[in-house]
């Protein structure tokens, strides 16, 4: 058959980033459970959840490679291909950080200093809220393509990007508060424990940072 039109109009790889995001979200979902286990002091649960997060990260990697594999250079996309690749990398980075949270908690069992529990749980809630916004943002890709990256769909996307940014800022503020509480308790904690706490807080904060970067990539997509 001579069907140049069918070969020309190929299925877009862009909506598949939503599949990648789903796999990443499944992995990141282990983070609040990990932190709850930390607060409860349940080390066996931490071990189990960390293993879960690690295997879910592997699954997210597999989906990521599939999406990348569906983007040969000869494709003409409505957005810059390099921006798409950067977006894929940012989505992937969230799962990497989630896995690292699990790793940090298994390397050296930590105890939560008094007065930090609620703040810590709240911080993780804010991080997860940022990820959730980013997830909804990625889900708009389909309608964004349908509207040619303009019009009402672009306005909705702009609003979502702002939401991701706001939520990341909220998460940031709580991260700083948590750090302050840790440093306040530095006398009771061993230096190594403080070091590990900072590592942990940074990894948690990075999840939100990468979610915000996802938003920034979408800002490039809709920039006229």
């Amino acid at each position: 058959m001579r069907i140049p039109l069918a070969h020309l109009l190929v299925k877009s790889p862009l909506p598949r980033i939503a599949d990648q995001m789903k796999a990443v979200a499944a992995c990141v979902d282990r983070v609040p459970e990990l932190i709850q286990a930390l607060v409860d002091g349940d080390q066996p649960a931490i071990e189990r959840l960390a293993r879960d997060a690690s295997s879910l990260e592997g699954e997210a990697d597999r989906v990521k490679n599939e999406v990348r594999g569906s983007m040969p250079v000869r494709l003409y996309l409505p957005v810059d291909r390099r921006d798409v690749l950067r977006l894929i990398a940012q989505v992937d980075a969230m799962a990497d950080c989630a896995e690292d949270v699990g790793v940090i908690l298994t390397l050296r069992p930590l105890t939560v200093p008094e007065g930090c529990e609620t703040l810590l749980v709240l911080f993780v809630e804010r991080v997860m809220a940022t990820v959730e916004s980013a997830s909804r943002l990625v889900d708009t890709t389909d309608s964004l393509i349908k509207s040619g990256f303009g019009g009402r769909a672009a306005e909705q996307v702009r609003a979502l990007i702002d939401e991701v940014g706001r939520r990341e800022h909220e998460a940031d503020k709580l991260q700083d508060q948590c750090a302050k509480v840790i440093f306040k308790a530095e006398k009771e904690l061993s230096p190594v424990a403080v070091f590990m706490w900072m590592k942990l807080l940074n990894k948690l904060g990075d999840i939100a940072n990468h979610a915000e970067n996802v938003g920034d990539q979408y800002r490039l997509f809709i920039a006229a």
């Binding site: 039109l5 109009l9 862009l14 494709l75 509207s147």
Partner: protein, 411 residues
């Protein structure tokens, strides 16, 4: 049996095969865009194609047929022997058909038009030397092969930008479309009427000069636009009552019009690929070498019937495949691509330039893609098309030259 009868029989069979091939592949590509969006069913596409291919071939197809028959190769230069001309044009049909068969087997995006033009050039050079080919005409034909996809792309790009600004991005897109749609239909009516009337078919007294044809076409466009206003309103009301606010549903209806337009444009240009050489063979055998013979109606009928048979016997498979693959081409995008391609092709037909329908349509779709409104385009296809420009003509020319040389030895 006389050798002329044999030649005519072979030429008719080869011409029919060419027409079948055109119907099975080119028409299927052209109509596939409407089937893919759901504007037409497979059966509907075959019916529309049957009617409008026929109409396009009959009413506007003569000019391109003349070009293929006697514009590319100077009939005097190949000698006064009608037998040479009959043999040569038969060789052309066979060569083009064989090349198309090979290309179709491998799925190469070659053009029927380019194959037959290449074959005719090959025959001309073999029969009458390099000077037998009218290189001026050939130059403008080759230029039109590059210009037509680009022009289709530019029109599609501009039209879709306009449509997005005026309709799709509007807060009330369906409302906007009822206001904007009649203008589009007006332009469509204008282009069609002008193509019919200006230098149209003499037997039907349609060959009006431009200063008469233009005002008539403008009024026809206005009338069609006015008539479309209530129809479009009723249509949108029915859609809104069905609870949908998707403007694509209205474009689905508009796309039926452009599907007819595409079939008409295709008929006006591509029927010549089968009929041009065939009528040359027929003319040579019946009247000797003469440039005065007009294209016999019977030949156009043969070509149009062959195309419809090709579409009905194999093209439906191609259309079904295309329809499944091109879901990204929503009715609004399909409408624009078809409108742009068909306008370009009809314009080329009026100038007597045989262009490739499929390549023009591909150009138009790429044009829509440049507005960032398609998910992804595989530019490997564009590369393949450009490659085919450089391969088809030499190959078809060599094949036709070889076949012709063999046939001349045998006679």
């Amino acid at each position: 049996m006389e050798s002329t009868t044999v030649i005519l029989a072979v030429a008719t069979l080869a011409g029919l095969y060419m027409a079948w091939n055109i119907g099975a592949n080119d028409v299927a590509n052209a109509m596939g865009t409407s089937v893919g969006s759901g504007a037409l069913t497979l059966r509907g596409a075959i019916i529309v194609a049957a009617i409008f291919e026929f109409g396009g071939a009959m009413l506007v197809g003569g000019t391109v047929t003349e070009t293929v028959r006697q514009g590319i190769v100077s009939l005097e230069a190949v000698g006064g022997d009608p037998m040479i001309l009959a043999l040569g044009m038969t060789a052309c049909l066979l060569a083009a058909a064989v090349w198309l068969h090979v290309a179709t087997y491998f799925g190469w995006p070659v053009s029927t038009t380019h194959s037959i033009v290449g074959a005719v050039v090959g025959f001309g050079i073999t029969a009458g030397g390099v000077s037998a080919v009218n290189w001026g005409v050939m130059g403008s034909i080759v230029a039109s092969w590059v210009v037509s996809p680009v022009l289709g792309g530019v029109i599609a790009y501009l039209l879709f930008r306009l449509l997005r600004n005026r309709v799709l991005d509007d807060d009330e897109p369906i409302e906007a479309l009822t206001r904007f749609g009649p203008w589009l239909i007006s332009v469509l009516g204008f282009v069609l009427t002008l193509s019919l009337l200006w230098k149209g078919l003499k037997p039907l007294h349609l060959n009006l000069p431009i200063h008469v044809a233009l005002p008539v076409a403008v009024s026809a466009g206005v009338v069609v636009g006015l008539v479309s206003i209530p129809i479009l309103k009723r249509r949108t009301r029915a859609i809104e009552e069905g609870g949908s606010h998707d403007p694509e549903r209205v474009f689905l209806f508009l796309q039926i019009l452009t599907a007819c337009f595409v079939a008409f444009a295709h008929g006006s240009n591509d029927v010549a690929n089968a009929v041009g050489p065939l009528s040359a063979v027929y003319g040579a055998i019946e009247h000797g070498v003469s440039e005065q013979v007009t294209v016999p109606m019977g030949m156009l009928v043969v070509g149009a019937v062959g195309i419809v048979i090709g579409l009905a016997t194999y093209g439906y498979k191609v259309m079904a495949t295309i329809g499944k693959e091109i879901t990204a081409l929503t009715p609004s995008r399909g409408f624009v691509a078809e409108f742009a391609a068909a306008t370009t092709i009809v314009a080329a037909s009026k100038l007597g330039l045989p262009v490739s329908t499929t390549h023009t349509l591909v150009g138009a779709v790429v044009g829509v893609g440049f507005t960032r409104s398609l998910g992804a385009l595989d530019l490997g296809v564009v590369r393949g098309i450009i490659l085919s420009w450089f391969i088809t003509v030499p190959f078809a020319a060599l094949l036709a030259a070889g076949l012709f040389a063999l046939a001349r030895l045998a006679i």
